[in-house]
């Protein structure tokens, strides 16, 4: 026990002394959560809509008011101004050569990026047309559905479950958790162990009476502690800053995540037994863990859209099971009993990885 504590102390000191590692483990989760939360959001706020009326008979002013009331839309007259009190002045509706001018003008506004979409209201025929800049299909779809929603007429009454405001935070927080623990646990531990291989200090540890198991366990302990700290930070930020509800299942989320952390540590250990240099460890951890976690876990790209072979491949990506389970538990409020499949898969993977890693580790000492 003394030995173990001496080791844990040493590893903790290594982390504290290495500014780069320290920055990564402490700031990375915070920066990622905030970055994804506020900067890299897939939802679009402040879509700029211009309203053009073909003549003075239209109720363009009323329509503009309704659009402007939506928090996602900012509405202005195409040319002219809107006084905020249902009075809508549209300079271009007085033009005589409307027809040509109109399409040219709309084109111009969209090309210059002055607006994301233009709503043309034809009062005589009681029709409306939305002209959208579809160079970014994502924005275009959003604009169309926001405007359709704001106008209400004819649009189906859609009800969003679990995430009524369609906040992307609900989607990316579980995904980011899947990624962050892979980085902290798998990448950093493998690099930490391989660094000792590179400098030769691993021999010094192996030649001591300390069993390899204690050495490895002690090496992982500080990273495990850091991960728990990160978990607390992430959950707090997600809940208090991004407003993710946690659905009253914080305990289940924590339990799931602890299992996932152990799994990631096992991956880091396995990687470290396979390579000799820190660079190789980094690359292997990156290719074996981070890329699949980003691409094949459903974190960013929905797996349902992937070709069948990639979907099969994703079954071996731990993050896929973890992220799926966390979404269910954290966002939908299911209990651990509802994610037994994911739990079983993750536990199985952990056992396999640990067994493989320890077997490899012992082989090395031969």
């Amino acid at each position: 026990m003394n030995t173990y504590l001496a080791f844990v102390r040493k590893e903790a000191l290594h982390i504290l002394r290495d500014r780069r590692t320290l920055l990564v483990v402490v700031l990375l989760p915070i920066v990622q959560i905030l970055l994804f939360g506020f900067a890299i959001s897939t939802e679009i706020n402040d879509l700029r809509i211009r309203v053009a009326a073909t003549d003075r008979l239209t109720d363009a002013g009323r329509i503009a008011t309704r659009l402007d009331a939506s928090p996602y839309l900012r509405c202005e007259a195409l040319d002219g101004y809107y006084d905020g009190k249902n009075k809508y002045y549209d300079s271009f509706s007085y033009r005589s050569d409307r027809k040509n001018y109109r399409s040219d003008r709309i084109d111009q506004v969209l090309r210059r990026g002055e607006a994301d979409a233009v709503l043309v209201v034809d009062g005589r025929q009681g029709r409306m047309q939305l002209v959208v800049d579809a160079s970014n299909p994502n924005t275009a779809t959003m604009a169309a559905s926001y405007v359709g929603g704001a106008l209400g007429g004819g649009a189906p009454d859609v009800r969003m479950l679990y995430n009524p405001q369609m906040l992307s935070a609900y989607n990316f927080v579980p995904g980011l958790m899947g990624l962050i623990f892979v980085i902290i646990c798998a990448v950093l531990t493998s690099v930490a162990i391989v660094r000792e291989k590179e400098t030769g200090s691993l021999d010094l540890l192996l030649v001591s009476p300390v069993s390899p198991f204690v050495t490895v366990a002690a090496k992982m302990t500080p990273y495990f502690a850091v991960s728990c700290l990160n978990l607390a930070t992430i959950l707090a930020l997600a809940h208090y800053v991004l407003g993710v509800p946690l659905a009253g299942r914080a305990g289940a989320t924590v339990a799931l995540t602890l299992l996932y952390i152990v799994l990631a540590l096992a991956v880091g250990l396995l990687v470290s037994t396979l390579v000799r240099t820190q660079v190789a460890a980094m690359v292997l951890a990156l290719i074996a863990m981070m890329l699949p976690t980003i691409l094949l876990s459903g974190m960013i790209f929905p797996l349902e859209n992937a070709p069948a072979p990639l979907q099969w491949l994703s079954a071996v990506v731990p993050a896929r099971w973890y992220i799926g389970a966390v979404r269910k538990v954290m966002i939908e409020g299911l209990s651990l009993g509802d994610v037994t499949v994911e739990l079983a898969v993750l536990a199985g993977m952990t056992a396999l990885l640990l067994a493989a890693a320890l077997k490899n580790y012992n082989k090395r000492t031969d």
């Binding site: 030995t3 102390r9 000191l13 030769g200 021999d203 010094l204 001591s208």
Partner: protein
């Protein structure tokens, strides 16, 4: 008659079809300074790893500090000290932290550790620099500290793997004074080196060529046997017969 502290018989290590260590037989007595010489690639490191319990012999037997290296490597590890030139102490930890770590690894109790640690630092005149990171110490001092740390748990036998590599001659001389002092206290020193002047300081030396021990005796007798003026000549004469490339 006292028991040898290291005794091997036909100790062999093969990696696939490559025989790194080829049936070496040697014995080292307590308190002896034993020089383990050989060109790079001759099999020194592999042999030493087996003696330390790091690597399992393919064939043959070896006993170190009274335990079988193949069957009781853990018992062997508890009774030896080890220091290598390549790595000895953690640069990012302070002098005091390194001492504490290695004391802890070898299971010294808190009070025992504090007492021996203080004593060690005093002897090396490092008491004031207890909080200095090891990386900031001059190499020679670092090696002396590493040697002292390797002896912290008072092992009867210490393995030194090229302990003076890259160190200036003056420091090497004082380092060897420490080795002599340790041997005088009864600690057996098993040392590899590429410096032939150091080989002269050893009580006995062995010279490995192509995985085999080609010569084993006191430096004086070896010089006489090979009609050489220095250990350097003895070594070069034998190393030239190597068929294995040192690369």
């Amino acid at each position: 008659m006292t028991e040898p502290i290291i005794e091997t018989r036909e100790l062999t290590k093969r990696f696939g079809s490559f025989t790194a260590v080829d049936r070496i037989t040697l014995s080292v007595m307590p308190g002896e300074i034993f020089g383990f010489l050989g060109a790079n690639g001759a099999g020194k490191t592999t042999a030493m790893r087996m003696l330390c319990g790091l690597s399992r012999p393919t064939a043959g037997t070896g006993r170190v500090a009274g335990y079988d290296i193949g069957r009781q490597p853990e018992a062997v590890k508890r009774r030896i000290g080890y220091m290598s030139q390549r790595f000895s102490l953690y640069d990012d930890l302070t002098v005091g932290e390194n001492v504490r770590l290695f004391g802890g690894i070898y299971g010294l109790g808190r009070h025992e550790l504090a007492r021996r640690g203080d004593e060690l630092l005093q002897r090396l005149d490092l008491t004031d620099r207890r909080r200095v990171r090891v990386g900031a110490l001059p190499l020679g001092l670092k090696q002396k500290l590493a040697f002292s740390v390797a002896l912290l748990h008072r092992p009867p036998l210490v393995f030194l793997d090229e302990p003076t590599g890259g160190v200036d001659p003056v420091t090497r001389r004082t380092f060897w004074e420490m080795i002599d002092a340790a041997a005088a206290d009864g600690t057996t020193v098993f040392v590899t080196t590429h410096y032939m002047d150091e080989a002269e300081y050893c009580h006995r030396v062995s010279i490995m060529v192509d995985g085999q021990i080609r010569a084993l005796d006191t430096p004086d007798r070896l010089k006489r046997q090979y009609g050489a003026a220095s250990m350097e000549e003895v070594f070069l004469g034998l190393a030239e017969t190597a068929k294995r490339s040192s690369e």
